[in-house]
Symmetry: C2
Subunit: 330 residues, 2 copies
């Protein structure tokens, strides 16, 4: 059956039943009215709000991703932004535009991905919008969360060290692998393939790209600035520096790369370090703190101005963005 046959109201009814009537603290009124009624960020806590759009042909390609994965990922990219402030996600609002001839089951699978991810992050769907689209699949999500000690991008100080919470480039490498595989892989249903590389090499990379689960890594108490890496290490490091009015020197040798990524990059004929520096969607946290033992992997230092990268030989050169920028397509 297609959405045209089901109709908007029946889809809305299904969503509401699927969301259930969970008794969630702070959710005074959920799906079904003109607006959700919430109690969030009271007392010592503050409310956090973020949003992300995912468009067909730009952020995803139906040739290579299952609808479940799209829903799951949309939640993760938003949750990552909340974690990047030092907060916890609470309520999600999901807007979807889909062509009228979209199979109902396909649409429901997107929602299943959304619901499963929200469960894992201990958040709930509190509202959204459903509409017909004449131009491919359009997904948008806003997440409202809360946090007590908020960590902004703007607090980095000269002399701070720069840290990252985990290996970089896995997602970009997973994307490159998917392009080679050329069809969806049902990781969520334990689906696996051993082509063109062993599954234990590909799995973590594909998972990181297709349906990333963002672990909440407790940032060090003394983190001075923080953000998540969504467009690439170099471009995002510049963004953090601009907000803090400082410069940075990144140690190329310090950038963490997973062994799987190194192996896959070799197979793909790609430069692992380049993927780690400019690949997007890793959703690791980038943060600054005083001293060199603040936890995480030390990858650089905050300086007065300019953006520099020190190669393994010690040679220092300037760098520009290098990462995903919309409109330019680079």
């Amino acid at each position: 059956m297609r959405l045209r046959e089901l109709g908007e109201q029946a889809l809305l009814d299904w969503i509401r039943r699927r969301a259930g009537r969970k008794r969630t603290k702070g959710l005074l009124l959920g799906i079904g009215d003109d607006a959700a009624v919430l109690r969030v960020g009271t007392g010592k806590k503050k409310a956090l709000a973020t949003s992300d759009m995912m468009l067909e042909g730009v952020h995803f390609d139906l040739c290579c991703q299952t609808p479940y994965q799209l829903g799951f990922k949309l939640v993760s990219v938003n949750v990552s932004d909340i974690y990047a402030m030092g907060g916890q996600p609470r309520f999600a609002f999901f807007e979807i535009g889909a062509p009228s001839d979209t199979p109902v089951e396909f649409t429901k699978q997107i929602f299943e991905g959304v619901f499963d991810a929200l469960d894992l992050y201990k958040a709930v769907l509190a509202g959204g919008d459903v509409c017909a689209s004449r131009s491919g699949l359009v997904l948008n999500m806003s997440v409202i969360g809360e946090g007590e000690k908020i960590i902004k991008r703007s607090g980095a100080r000269v002399g701070d060290s720069l840290y990252v919470t985990g290996p970089l480039g896995d997602s970009a490498c997973g994307l490159a692998l998917m392009k080679k595989i050329g069809k969806p892989v049902n990781i969520e249903k334990k689906g696996k393939i051993n082509e063109p590389l062993p599954w234990e090499v590909m799995k973590p990379l594909l998972e990181r790209h297709l349906m990333p689960f963002v672990k909440r890594k407790k940032p060090p108490q003394r983190a001075t600035a923080m953000m998540d890496i969504s467009d690439g290490l170099l471009i995002d490091a510049i963004r953090l520096c601009k907000e803090s009015a400082v410069g940075v020197k990144i140690y190329e040798a310090g950038i963490p790369v997973s062994p799987q990524m190194r192996e896959a990059a070799r197979f793909l004929g790609a430069d692992a370090l380049m993927l780690a520096k400019t690949g997007g969607e890793d959703y690791e946290l980038l943060y600054t703190a005083a001293g060199t033992k603040a936890g995480g992997t030390l990858i650089g230092e905050i300086i007065e101005s300019g953006y520099y990268i020190a190669g393994p030989s010690g040679a220092v050169r300037k760098f520009r963005s290098g990462g995903y920028e919309h409109f330019s397509g680079t």
Copy 2:
């Protein structure tokens, strides 16, 4: 210049400058970080959140609407949802997907419409997302507000009267006029035309469709249920009834119709009453209250079950939805 030449970062910088650093109560951190930091709905108040998507070819047609009008309207449809709960809008999150060859000036005009409308509603832009689109213009907005006495859809009781805050069908009639005119009318810049009807007849109808300004009408203290009419009186009345587990009898003769709409409908060969009953996007409030003198225009009564409409002659018949439903295209 086109977005491709300007680049994402330069557009983001412009948006942030344009948004300014308004000191707004409760906005602890606005555009520029991973998430906005807010204080909203504290004390006796509760937080409200709603979202709406607007897609090219479905919700709007660039042949007949200026970019400014699109931005303005997107704010209004969200604010209307907040008003419909008895609340006040505070913070907006705006996500836009635009093709890379979109003129920069066109894009900025959308934002001008957003900013001007937010100013009128005393709300501010607190965040959002900007991305390239391969499939037309994609707009989405979430608005967070707050309110003390929240009015849900679910409180209507048998015996309550049904009220509406203003004339219906104006927006649908304005849309029909725009299709006849076939080119954008710059109402926002005092642009006017006298074809095919006198301007004083067309203006309020076009305005209602192109860039509706939702007046905050204080609902009566004793309103038992409330919602805004966005898809059409009949379909929305059914929604309110379903939430309240009641039925309704609507008096056709009571439905308010503006003199301009009546005149334009006559010219268009359309049935004014049909437009008023099924036309969407009027953003008037529909509410129930005990007694027949609760303010607004009395248009019906809440009964135990069933959806009925009483014609001018007194003949009563059943009705079904009749209004805009996505996917079915009716």
